[in-house]
């Protein structure tokens, strides 16, 4: 069901205006359809109705759809219902900002702070391969790329608080030739999204240092400051200023990062690029977006490898209606995966789904600079990287094998696709979820 919908989603939004017919008949038509089977297609249509109601300021329609959706959605139902409930929240939140708010939803309070302990986070990233896939693929590539270098410096841009590194440290410790000297730098600012920790990044760094010491890997980790926002507490409203990003980008220079000449530089972008704004800042093609600027900057740092892992979905610039559909069809994936592993009323599951709910809220409820989740599919990213002067690094057999082994350990719904050697894609029941790629600047002369 879902597969067909994905294919049709764009056509629905662009070519089928009747769907946005806001007369009573269409609503009752939708209702009639839904009575029989409350499946994802139904819900999607309802969501589209809602979106169009918002766009056309049709309060009556909006209310009607909300009423129906409210009856359909359930945070403890099947994946579609659960997803729908989060969509409903997001839409209501958006509507509240469009019209005088009856519910007190503001951008900031929506981000309820569910803080995890470090160990909980360690468990979180391993529950489903959503993150672990990227870790495994990237680490494997990095491991290969740094062979022969006695000193390695990793710039870690990620949202998972260094959860990626223990396995790399472990692998390096077991190298026959011994581990290199490893240094990791993380920015002090990260997007205000889940997962959030209840300890400071210093604590995380400390633990990682202990671990590396335990494994006899020469190790150093530091947090480079991005003033004035030196904590993760940047609320969405603060992101409203593009100055933040400029500040951030300004920090990415060799002196602040303390780059050293004898080190192999690795740049790891894991679930990061989508948080870099992509709006063109100026009117001329000369002005690049933040994302492009970011890529240029890291290219100029002469890394020996750049790993990019992100969610394989295009949610950047589409209209609300198509965003809704696309998002619905994409985020169904983790919901369905949770359904497979966790019981219906598991509090853990509800928490994870709430995290995704925040994401939905941001995707649907906000526009402009406040919409921080700007997903870009792997294909589009690859084009972008190529445009910016990167060439892709193919995945070798060993990496592919490692990832396969990882996926075998998870449930059978998870699979992997390899697109032309350049991109590994994690799939759930055939649907693309996460892509992993690796790049080097075109000028870099190393053969792989």
């Amino acid at each position: 069901m879902k597969a067909e919908l994905r294919g049709n989603s764009s056509s629905i939004s662009l070519q089928n205006p009747s769907l946005f017919n806001t007369t009573q008949s269409s609503i009752s038509g939708a209702l009639k359809e839904c009575v029989g089977s409350l499946d994802g297609a139904c819900i999607e249509k309802l969501l589209l109705h809602f979106a169009s109601a918002l766009e056309s300021n049709d309060v009556t329609l909006a209310q009607q759809v909300m009423w129906v959706l409210n009856n359909v959605a359930s945070s403890i139902g099947d994946p579609n219902q659960r997803l729908a409930s989060w969509f409903l929240r997001a839409l209501i939140s958006r509507a509240a900002r469009v019209s005088p708010p009856t519910i007190n939803f503001d951008g900031r309070s929506a981000l309820q702070r569910r803080l995890m302990t470090v160990t909980e986070l360690a468990g979180y990233v391993d529950l489903i391969p959503w993150h672990r896939f990227g870790f495994c693929a990237s680490n494997s590539i990095i491991f290969k790329a740094i062979q022969g270098f006695p000193r390695v410096h990793i710039l870690d841009f990620s949202i998972t608080h260094c959860m990626q590194w223990p396995t790399l440290i472990d692998a390096l410790a077991k190298r026959p030739e011994g581990p290199p000297s490893l240094r990791i730098s993380v920015p002090s600012w990260r997007p205000p999204v889940h997962p959030l920790l209840n300890v400071s990044s210093e604590e995380v760094c400390q633990r990682l240092t202990n671990f590396a010491k335990f494994k006899d890997v020469p190790f150093e980790i530091n947090v480079f400051e991005v003033p004035p926002l030196s904590t993760m507490d940047a609320g969405i409203s603060q992101l409203g200023s593009s100055d933040l990003y400029d500040l951030f980008l300004n920090q990415l220079n060799p002196s602040t990062l303390e780059l050293r000449d004898d080190e192999a530089l690795v740049i790891n972008c894991q679930n990061w690029l989508r948080y870099m704004p992509d709006e063109q800042k100026g009117s001329t093609s000369h002005d690049t977006s933040c994302r492009d600027a970011f890529l240029e900057i890291i290219k100029d740092l002469s890394p020996c490898i750049v790993t990019v892992v992100d969610e394989d979905c295009d949610l950047g610039t589409l209209s609300l209606a198509s965003r809704i559909t696309t998002c619905f069809n994409y985020l169904w994936i983790p919901f369905d995966a949770f359904e497979t592993f966790l019981p219906k009323n598991s509090p853990q599951r509800i928490e994870y789904e709430a995290d995704i709910g925040h994401k939905i809220e941001n995707i649907i409820g906000f526009e402009g600079i406040q919409r921080i989740e700007r997903l870009e599919s792997g294909i589009n990213l690859s084009k972008r990287m190529a445009n910016k002067g990167f060439q892709s690094v193919p995945f070798c057999e060993e990496t592919v094998k490692e990832v396969k082994i990882l996926l075998d350990e998870h449930a059978s719904g998870w699979g992997m696709k390899k697109d032309d050697d350049d991109m590994l894609v994690l799939t759930w029941k055939g649907h693309n979820s996460i892509y992993a790629t690796a790049w080097v600047p075109c000028s870099y002369g190393v053969e792989y």
């Binding site: 470090v118 391993d126 959860m163 223990p166 633990r207």
Partner: protein, 509 residues
């Protein structure tokens, strides 16, 4: 001797052995019955699989009998040797390896299969390899047994959590509190976390036997729980052992863990009780513990349940309380004596000893009249201890006190013990309290007073037991018989007495 073929070996060594062969129980391994016939096989003979060969078709058999039966098929004369009872002698076998301890006939092994396996394991080549790990085995059955469990739980963090996957293990390990040098806090919460716990619904309740001790355990724990303090229970950090024997541990309770203080007794006993207590511990409706604010402890609830009164849950436990708790009387020092001298609680009290039966009956009557109408709650065994965590020793030991004294009293009175406890104990469902009563009578009576009692407070407890127990009941007050006339007050005073552990202490003494 290594080259000797099969022979009825000399019995020369038999006389030298001093084993008193009085008991008809199984001898310990390597300590053979002195009357046994010692057989020394050569390595070749030992490892030979088919010693009896059919002359017609050369088919080999392990036993003479089988060969004979086979010979029938060739129409050969066959004869089954009858086992002649008056001549039969137990055979023991020595290991052909000279340097082995079992080479000495005095340490011969009694089982042919046993000696074969022994020889292979210790002196043989390890030919069977595990695919998943690096272990190798000489005996095929060992190897098969290992293969069953290998890979199912591969990694264990120091904190006790098990992981099926290496990467999750490594990631966890890197950030686990257990690795943190300075940490002594009860992150041992993870001890209870068993692999996969988060994703699976809580398993069905353990078998009754495992449910038993949890209320008991929770007494002590709830005593200190509210502030997450160390429980006297003191399970060791190596209650990783504990946790592995726990199959249902889904509760990450502080009880289980806070004890990073090791108590060797506890650990030993946990292990010896082969997980009964362990599982109890885990399964412990440590849900109770998770809610430290709940005033009556789970133990009291158990008792309430057994008494059929208002409290919820735990009927299965009441049943089990009798059965397993008392059956496994040996590893009783579940609650090791705390560092503070528990004796002071038991310490001599001037009251005369009461017959156990009488005491219980009276107490039951008290219980019936008390507001909290469970028998043992009336006895004050219910710990309203949550109120006073600071007096850990007191509360822990005093709560443990009563059963211990109770037990020791049980030991005094074999014959006149009657299960019927009076109105306080409605005889519903649970054979509950009745069993509780009966239990001790059956199994504990055989224990010597020095045996560790129900809660393992044995030593001290049993020394001063008779006095202690009556003193204890004294504090309960009300309704006891003549000797207990000194037991003043009504139940309400009991409650008060129990609310304040210091009072408890004083009233005990």
């Amino acid at each position: 001797m290594a080259e000797m073929d099969i022979s009825s070996g000399s019995n020369a060594e038999n006389q030298t052995s001093d084993e008193p062969a009085t008991k008809k129980r199984r001898n310990q391994p390597g300590m053979p019955d002195p009357d046994a016939e010692v057989i020394a096989l050569s390595p070749k003979a030992l490892l030979a699989t088919n010693r009896f060969v059919c002359e017609i078709c050369n088919k080999g058999f392990q036993r003479e009998q089988n060969l004979q039966l086979h010979r029938r098929g060739h129409n050969l004369p066959w004869k089954l040797k009858q086992r002649t009872d008056n001549e039969v002698r137990k055979r023991v076998y020595v290991c052909p390896e000279i340097s082995c301890i079992h080479h000495d006939p005095a340490r011969a092994l009694g089982d042919l299969t046993g000696i074969k396996k022994h020889f292979c394991r210790k002196h043989g080549e390890k030919k069977y390899k595990c695919e998943r790990c690096t272990k190798i085995y000489a005996v095929q059955s060992d190897w098969k047994a290992h293969m069953k469990i290998c890979g199912s739980r591969e990694y264990r963090c120091d904190c006790g959590t098990l992981f099926a996957r290496k990467d999750s293990f490594i990631t966890h390990r890197a950030f686990c509190d257990a690795l943190a040098v300075e940490s002594t806090r009860p992150q041992t919460l993870k001890v209870q976390a068993v692999n996969g716990v988060s994703s699976s619904p809580p398993p069905p309740p353990l078998t009754p036997s495992t449910g038993v001790l949890s209320p008991v355990l929770s007494i002590q724990s709830s005593a200190e729980l509210p502030e997450n303090q160390t429980v006297h229970f003191q399970p060791q950090p190596g209650t990783a052992a504990l946790s592995t024997s726990i199959t249902t541990a889904t509760t990450t309770t502080t009880v289980a863990v806070t004890a990073s203080c090791g108590s060797s007794t506890y650990k030993r006993n946990i292990n010896s009780s082969s997980g009964v207590f362990a599982s109890i511990f885990a399964s412990s409706t440590l849900d109770e513990l998770a809610q430290p604010s709940r005033p009556p402890s789970s133990y009291s609830d158990l008792l309430c349940a057994m008494a059929g009164s208002e409290c919820s849950t735990m009927d299965p436990m009441s049943l089990s309380l009798s059965s397993s708790l008392y059956l496994s009387s040996s590893p009783a020092s579940l609650f090791p004596t705390t560092s503070q001298d528990p004796n002071r609680h038991y310490a001599s009290s001037p009251q005369p000893a009461l017959s156990a039966t009488a005491l219980l009956q009276k107490a039951a009557q008290i219980g019936a009249t008390s507001a909290n109408s469970s028998f043992l709650h009336g006895l004050g065994l219910a710990t309203s201890s949550s109120s006073n965590p600071q007096d850990n020793a007191a509360s822990a030991t005093t709560t443990a006190l009563s059963p211990s004294h109770w037990n020791s009293h049980m030991q005094l009175e074999n014959s006149s013990f009657t299960p019927r406890l009076g109105p306080g104990i409605p005889s519903n469902g649970s054979s509950g309290l009745n069993d509780l009563m009966i239990g001790p009578s059956t199994s504990l009576f055989s224990n010597k007073p020095t045996t560790l009692d129900f809660l393992g407070l044995g030593m001290g407890a049993s020394e001063a037991s008779p006095d202690g127990f009556s003193a204890f009941l004294t504090s309960i007050g009300g309704g006891l018989n003549a000797a207990a006339a000194s037991v003043g007050g009504g139940v309400s005073s009991v409650g008060d007495a129990w609310d304040d552990p210091s009072d408890r202490k004083t009233s005990m003494l």
